[in-house]
């Protein structure tokens, strides 16, 4: 059973791969019906699938492919001309085949799809146009089993040339003859292979060498005249020869079919590898941070140089490794583009328009997950272009355009992004018409319409419920398609840009980040919190002074060059308590996503960092505005902003005056001595007792902490506001300097007096103390009066309360 499953898996993978190529080949075939090379390739797909499916007992599939094979075989022999009508049937049968394969993949059996209608059509076409010749009749009869067929074919092939008459031979003789021919062929094959290998070419593995026999069964009148001249069966030869006949297209085709040396790897393994690399990137970030800290601390020491080198090598290799693994997940976008020639063909027939599709840059590579997501949006955009963009033939002629419309699909790299551009030379978007339509449908208000720029008007096509088509056709007009585009592109953190000119055409650009797992992010700070914003969505950052912010309709806006940008404070969205907002300036991060823009006000810009996206887990999944989390160099967790959700949330946020909290955060009135609160941080219990004794006399409240970490935790909990801190320098876990540095990072403790109490008395120690933000420096031992007076001075103690 397992073995069968394995075979089935391989069969499905192979079949889907074959089909992918098939669609393109078929459309090409229609424009170039004489291309035998193409025909042969298509025939081979039907044949391979038939052979394998009969082996695996998929009777329905075998039945269908068998008839497909029939009709294609006739076309190959020139007995049947491939008119568009015939192609329609063939294409239909291929769709059925796909459906069957999908059913097999999902359920393991090929039941539930009715192929009889299609088979009848196939037969009608195949019989209607061409009178069955003897040979093709013969073939149909002998085909039920592949192996048998091949052998018989061989006989027929042989008998059609000047070989001995097999009819008169005994069974054993026939066997012997077959053996001989096979051996001969294998030998020949091998020789060719070697020759090719010597020439440095990759030899494509040709699974069904025997198939090549089939052309020899053809009547002499067929295109394969060459074969008749060759008495010996030479499959390789006959494979090459027709391609010479097929002139122009042939050389390029030969290249395209050359099989690359690849191995198939389970995507799960690659994902796992990617996860591991992610961990490595985090470790690298951490190492870099530590290196910076060490540098500061041991400036000028010799080993620093070495450490620096190691760190830079590690970070370099990590980056390379990351790129290398990312590349293994990359697929050419051609995988998606492949299905469009067929789609355009069907659409143009359905809509009675003439449309040419040009594809550029199909070799551009993208992460697998993105390739999977980008298909749907492209389908909708291209359908839209065909249906609404390109005009009917008569209209085009009336406007002096060529009657064939043109759609250009191209992909190219731009920095860390890939751009997929869809251009058409149709009627273009009319901003006025778009606005009127939207007003009619109630998508926008009159007021909104008035203040809209052309670009904003173009973006209206992405609103759900919007459709410019007067009638709902099977192609479009339901007003969901473009909404799908927007949603999917937003999911990929992409940006949509539309350009259009009435009468000239429309150009839609999708800008998508290369990969999803590890991204570049901009780290921003608000009060004591940090957030990471995917750099792909950041258009620019600007520093503005507070009076550049205006309020319109209860919403903050600013003027950015010629545009008006709506603003929202990150703190309002993420419910950050704003305690101090004293700064004169604010930073605005201009976010762009799909077609919309928003200015996000933050307190500080920390910098750009490579981050690995981690999920918040089941419990916190789907928190609004949060796309995930990442682990920073210091081991802390930083949340990643979900730009799409944030833009939605911003709509509900009313403008708040920027400087509001000043008053509430003001110092509370001290009415009694115990309102003063001082923290003592020292690892020695004795020292803490001495300090406590010195200060107890004042009647102020005292809190003790045994090291920097503990002190920091007490501060973070914010249960009490402190008026001063006495800090020892030498402490385990976190020393005094580090503690002071950490405390000064918090806006609300910027002005908290920190008093160093230490036995370190050298000048350089004092300097470090000042650098880390200490206001006083008391050396041990000290008199208790002195300590008390220093503290009193720093907390502005009112003596009368004592």
């Amino acid at each position: 059973m397992d073995e069968f499953q394995e075979i089935l898996q391989d069969f499905l993978i192979e079949s889907f791969e074959l089909l992918e190529q098939l669609d393109q080949d078929l459309v090409e075939l229609e424009t170039n019906p004489q291309d035998l090379e193409l025909l042969n390739r298509i025939f081979r797909v039907a044949h391979t699938v038939k052979g394998a499916s009969s082996f695996l007992n998929f009777d329905v599939l075998t039945h269908l492919t068998h008839h497909m094979e029939d009709i294609l075989n006739k076309a190959r022999h020139g007995d049947l001309v491939l008119t568009p009508d015939v192609m329609d049937v063939v294409l239909e049968s291929i769709d059925l085949m796909k459906e069957l394969l999908n059913t097999i993949r999902d359920t393991g059996v090929d039941a539930g799809v009715d192929v009889s209608a299609c088979v009848m059509k196939l037969d009608a076409k195949s019989n209607g146009t061409a009178m069955p010749t003897d040979v093709s009749m013969n073939e149909v009869e002998v085909e039920p089993e592949m192996v048998e067929e091949d052998e018989e074919e061989e006989e027929i092939a042989a008998s059609s040339s000047d070989e001995p008459n097999y009819e008169s031979m005994s069974d054993a003789e026939v066997e012997a003859e077959i053996e001989r021919l096979l051996a001969q062929r294998q030998e020949e094959d091998q020789r060719k292979r070697k020759a090719k290998q010597a020439a440095g070419e990759v030899v494509p593995h040709i699974p069904d060498v025997q198939e090549e026999e089939v052309p020899k069964a053809a009547p002499v009148s067929s295109a394969n005249v060459v074969v008749a001249k060759q008495p010996q069966p030479m499959p390789k030869k006959s494979f090459d020869e027709p391609s010479e006949d097929a002139k122009a297209a042939a050389p390029a085709k030969a290249n395209a079919t050359a099989v690359e040396q690849t191995i198939r790897v389970d995507v799960k393994r690659l994902d796992h590898l990617m996860n591991l690399i992610g961990e490595l990137v985090l470790a690298k970030n951490r190492l870099i941070k530590i290196n910076v800290d060490v540098e500061e601390r041991y400036e000028g020491e010799e080993f620093l140089e070495e450490l620096n080198q190691v760190v830079s090598i590690v970070s370099l290799v990590t980056t390379d490794l990351q790129i290398a693994v990312m590349k293994t997940r990359m697929l050419p976008i051609g995988k998606v583009f492949n299905k469009f020639p067929r789609m355009i063909r069907d659409l143009s027939r359905e809509l009675n328009k003439k449309i040419d599709l040009e594809i550029y840059g199909e070799e551009t590579e993208l992460d697998k997950s993105i390739v999977e997501e980008i298909g749907d949006p492209l389908v909708h955009i291209i359908r839209n272009s065909c249906d609404h963009g390109i005009e009917a033939i008569a209209d085009r002629i009336a406007q002096g355009k060529s009657e064939t419309g043109r759609i250009v699909l191209k992909a190219y790299n731009e920095g860390n992004h890939i751009v997929v551009q869809i251009d058409d030379d149709g009627k273009g978007l009319d901003p006025v018409m778009l606005k009127n339509k939207s007003l009619e449908k109630g998508v926008i208000t009159e007021k909104e319409a008035d203040s809209m720029t052309d670009k904003e008007a173009y973006a209206l096509i992405f609103r759900p419920g919007f459709s410019t088509a007067a009638q709902v056709t099977s192609v479009s007009g339901r007003g969901v398609g473009m909404d799908v585009v927007k949603t999917n592109i937003e999911k990929l953190n992409g940006i949509i840009d539309i350009d259009s000119e009435v009468g000239r055409g429309t150009s839609i650009k999708l800008k998508i980040p290369l990969t999803l797992a590890i991204i570049q992010a901009l780290l921003v700070g608000v009060q004591e919190e940090y957030y990471a914003i995917p750099l792909a969505s950041v258009l620019e950052t600007v520093r503005i002074s507070k009076d550049e912010i205006y309020t319109v309709d209860n919403r903050s806006v600013m003027r950015l060059r010629n545009d008006v940008l709506s603003l929202v404070h990150i703190g309002d969205i993420f419910e950050v308590e704003r305690i101090i907002d004293a700064a004169e300036h604010a930073y605005v991060v201009v976010l762009g996503l799909a077609e919309s823009k928003l200015g996000l006000i933050v307190d500080s810009l920390v910098g750009q960092e490579e981050i690995v996206i981690k999920s918040l887990g089941e419990y916190l999944k789907g928190m609004e505005g949060i796309a995930g989390a990442t682990i920073r160099g210091d081991g802390g967790v930083t949340l990643i902003v979900d730009v799409a959700a944030l833009m939605q949330m911003a709509k509900g946020v009313k403008a708040k005056p920027m400087i509001e909290s000043k008053a509430t955060s003001g110092v509370k009135e001290k009415n009694k001595a115990s309102d003063y609160h001082v923290m003592i941080v020292d690892d020695s219990k004795t020292d803490r007792i001495i300090m406590r004794k010195s200060l107890e006399g004042l009647g102020i409240t005292l809190t003790e902490a045994a090291d920097g970490q503990e002190a920091l935790n007490i501060l973070k909990q914010g249960d009490a506001t402190f008026d001063a801190m006495l800090i020892d320098i030498e402490m385990p876990r976190m020393d005094g300097y580090t503690l002071a540095n950490e405390i000064k990072k918090y806006n609300k403790y910027k002005n908290l007096p920190l008093i160093a109490v230490t036995s370190r008395s050298s000048k350089s120690d004092r300097m470090r103390g000042v650098e880390s933000g200490m206001v006083e420096y008391i050396t041990k031992p000290y008199s208790s009066d002195y300590l008390a007076s220093v503290v009193q001075r720093n907390i502005k103690f009112k003596a009368e309360l004592a």
Binding site: E529, V576, G617, K621, M623, I631, V637
Partner: protein, 165 residues
């Protein structure tokens, strides 16, 4: 001789195995902890690890008892304060405060508790049902374990890990 030996050994093994099985069958291993004034416990198999408090990051738009997320050796894990969840006042973390990281299937979360008591083994027969007043489905309580000197509430880990906002 050797056959005899074998049969003896196999008999011994059997006995041993039976002993283990019966032990497994009629006892549950729990880890007890204190929240507020009460002692609670969860099955030891649902506990991934117990760590000392470390720093965490607040996550916006969550109820107050969700303190945020923290980094557990590279995984981002939610942190829930059980005092707040059980409707008690929050309390400053002390030397005895611990984060218990519990898991149920793929779901993992850290829970802040006031202090650990002990790992204990309770016979199944000593476990009574949750008080009748509680709705069967809604309750976070799996049962009540009776010890000689006290009673211990056994919590449902899957209920604790269920998002209820």
């Amino acid at each position: 001789m050797s056959d005899k030996l074998k049969s003896i050994i196999s008999k011994q093994n059997e006995q041993q195995n039976r002993g283990v099985v019966s032990q497994l069958e009629d006892a549950v291993q729990l880890v007890g902890f204190i929240i507020g004034d009460e002692e609670y416990s969860v099955p030891i198999l649902n506990i991934q690890e117990i760590i000392k408090p470390i720093s965490w990051t607040r996550v916006p738009q969550t109820p107050p008892y969700v303190l945020g997320v923290f980094n557990l050796r590279g995984s981002v894990i939610p942190l829930i304060d059980l005092r707040l969840k059980f409707g008690l006042q929050s309390k400053k973390h002390t030397d005895e405060t611990r984060f218990i990281v519990m898991k149920d299937g793929n779901e993992v979360a850290g829970f802040v508790i006031d202090r650990l008591t002990e790992a204990l083994r309770i016979r199944k027969s000593d476990i009574g049902p949750a008080p009748d007043t509680m709705q069967e489905d809604e309750s976070m309580i799996d049962g009540v374990g009776k010890q000689s000197d006290r009673i211990i509430t056994i919590l449902k880990v899957n209920k604790l890990l269920e998002r209820d906002f």
